[in-house]
């Protein structure tokens, strides 16, 4: 099963006595870096990175911790972007309400797609989610509120809680960072809850989970909806960051992109999707100015990851001697 912990070299390595503190220190370091990043980097770029990192983390919740490969997560990301953009622009909703609507809409789409897709497993699950999201793509082309090829443009960011002007780049940045951190905390809490433990048991051995009396289908659906809602959170954010929502975000290419981010960073690790998203977004940014198509590189990275390092960058680090000395473990 994808995401199932790959065997780790057997020789024992003592975990460093201060491993917990070092881990905490690394997280704190990352947070400080995020706080000051817009001083050194273009804020829109960092915000885009955060939105995609949240999207990939939401996707990883499903693939890494439940073992379900969805090939249709663009539906939730792009769908929520449309909902948020429409609510904020046409109905004049405040940004926080717009994002919540995006989350709710994505959760609802997730409930429908999940209920159909969990009827099959493994490879079929992937194909079904892909087909259903393609159906949503065609719906978005024809529906009037999406404005077809034009998309919803010049979406106002509005005032957060009626007070903070989000058109101010720094205000927007710290709003995005706050939502990102909250999203990650939710994922972290979810993964380490009893619910998350049952999901992991389904990933490792579905038959045994069934025999232990767990209603596997309901847990899978729960994880699917949760993952969809969080992907929607990322999509809503993206609509406000770029102030538009377009068809690009609901294409199957977008679903492929989020798989790549997770695979490259490390399936089943909390940090992996963030690292993967960072690398992919940076690469796209770098290649945007040249006429060399990103898809060639994307494709080659995909093939390399699958053939040579299925643990992903963070996963390989966790499995290395240093990583294990620091007490890191993937898949848990």
């Amino acid at each position: 099963m994808v995401g199932k912990s790959e065997p780790i070299p057997s020789e024992a390595i003592a975990v460093h006595p201060k491993a917990g503190q070092i881990q905490l220190g690394l997280v704190a370091l990352a947070l400080v870096a995020a706080l000051f990043a817009p001083q050194f980097l273009y804020p829109i770029f960092v915000m885009k990175l955060l939105a995609f990192a949240l999207f990939a983390s939401a996707f990883n919740l499903l693939l890494g911790y439940t073992g379900l490969l969805s090939f249709g997560h663009a539906t939730f990301f792009g769908g929520a972007a449309y909902f948020t953009a429409h609510a904020v622009k046409v109905w004049g909703w405040p940004p926080e309400a717009g994002i919540l609507l995006g989350v709710a809409g994505a959760a609802l789409l997730g409930l429908v797609m999940g209920a159909i897709a969990i009827r099959r497993q493994g490879i079929y699950f992937a194909m079904i989610t892909l087909a259903l999201s393609q159906m949503f793509f065609f719906f978005c082309i024809q529906a009037s509120f999406t404005h077809g090829e034009d998309g919803i443009q010049s979406v106002p960011r509005g005032h957060l809680f009626g007070l903070i002007d989000l058109h101010e780049p720094m205000n927007m940045y710290y709003f995005v960072l706050a939502v990102f951190v909250i999203g990650l905390l939710i994922i972290w809490r979810f993964v380490n809850s009893p619910f998350g433990m049952i999901l992991k048991s389904i990933r490792e051995n579905e038959q045994r989970a069934i025999s232990l009396g767990y209603s596997v289908a309901r847990y899978k659906l729960g994880a699917f909806v949760m993952s969809a809602a969080l992907a929607g959170l990322a999509g809503g954010l993206k609509a406000l960051i770029f102030q538009f929502a377009t068809l690009t975000d609901v294409t199957w290419q977008m679903s492929g992109e989020v798989i790549l981010m997770t695979l490259l960073g490390g399936i089943g690790t909390l940090a992996g999707p963030i690292v993967g998203a960072g690398l992919v977004v940076t690469l796209q940014n770098y290649l945007a100015t040249s006429d060399f198509p990103v898809t060639i590189i994307t494709g080659l990275v995909f093939m390399t990851c699958v053939l040579l390092f299925r643990r992903g960058l963070v996963g390989e680090f966790f499995a290395s001697k240093i990583g294990r000395r620091l007490g890191f473990r993937s898949g848990s």
Binding site: M1, L69, T298, F302, L307
Partner: protein
């Protein structure tokens, strides 16, 4: 003018033909997918790219070497099949012991890389490929004009589908193939070269896709992305049919093509999504697919 359900007969027949032609491609492609999946347990996401490669090979053979359509119809599947065999030997075969999802992800990457490369060198726009002189023109069937080439596509794809079915069900090679699907270790123990069988199967599947690509070249234009949207529809076809049976894949392909064509007549807005809707309904009513066995 004759009318059926308030639709002119000519329009109905026209869309029925379009449906049959799309169905021919669905059938050829889902047949290839089913053959590959049956033995390799890999969902070949690169199938759309291999279809595109078939069309491009025919086009390049014509423009660079002056090879005509009929020869290209044989050469292009051979060339694409050979390339596929190379990929299978060097890379794909390393993934057999892993979860099948890795095969899907690998072939997805392969498809992106191939399509990206062709788009880089040939641009995204379509290039025309003229049908052979023998098959241009149309015949008057009384109720409609049938372009001869389109009739040929339906016949050729049907013939190839039946040939592949016979190959798998009635020949010794096919018997090995079916046996290896059931129990590869035992078949290997009987002295059959199973790894070679796997390579041949992948090449056969890719060759079928390339054959469909050459057939498609004169109807649709030859473009780097011609296969990428098609493959998703074919996935839905495969889910509806269930991958258990070769015949099921063929029948479902034609059936859904025709249904899609008829939807264009009666409710055009839904023609893009009708196959996906059918897939969802089939999954709710009969999760294993129309011809599939319960896993």
């Amino acid at each position: 003018m004759m009318m059926i359900f308030g639709i002119p007969l000519q329009a109905l027949m026209g869309q029925l033909l379009v449906g049959l032609i799309n169905g021919s491609f669905y059938a050829l492609l889902s047949l290839g997918l089913a053959v590959i999946f049956g033995l390799l347990r890999v969902i070949n996401f690169a199938h759309g790219a291999q279809y595109m490669l078939g069309a491009f090979t025919a086009l390049l053979l014509l423009t660079v070497a002056g090879v005509n359509y009929w020869l290209a119809l044989i050469l292009a599947p051979l060339i694409v099949g050979l390339l596929a065999a190379l990929v299978e030997r060097t890379m794909l075969s390393r993934l057999y012991n892993l979860d099948p999802l890795y095969g899907l992800l690998f072939t997805f990457g392969l498809a992106l890389a191939i399509e990206g490369t062709f788009r880089y060198f040939y641009g995204a726009s379509g290039k025309p490929y003229a049908p052979p002189a023998q098959l241009s023109g149309a015949v008057n069937l009384g109720f409609m004009f049938l372009p001869i080439y389109r009739g040929w596509v339906v016949i050729a794809s049907l013939a190839v589908c039946i040939a592949v079915w016979l190959l798998i069900e009635k020949t010794k090679l096919g018997a090995y193939l079916r046996a290896a699907t059931e129990n590869p270790v035992l078949v290997q123990a009987f002295g059959v070269n199973v790894p070679l069988l796997l390579t041949l199967t992948y090449a056969l599947g890719a060759g079928l896709a390339a054959f469909a690509g050459v057939l498609a070249a004169p109807i649709y234009q030859v473009s780097p992305l011609m296969g990428s949207n098609l493959i998703i529809i074919v996935f839905a076809v495969v889910v509806v049919g269930g991958m258990g049976s070769i015949l099921g894949a063929i029948v479902t392909g034609y059936l859904l093509g025709v249904v899609e064509g008829l939807t264009k007549v009666f409710y055009p807005e839904a023609s893009n999504i009708v196959i996906f809707v059918i897939m969802a309904i089939v999954l709710i009513l009969r999760p294993a697919g129309l011809f599939g066995k319960e896993a």
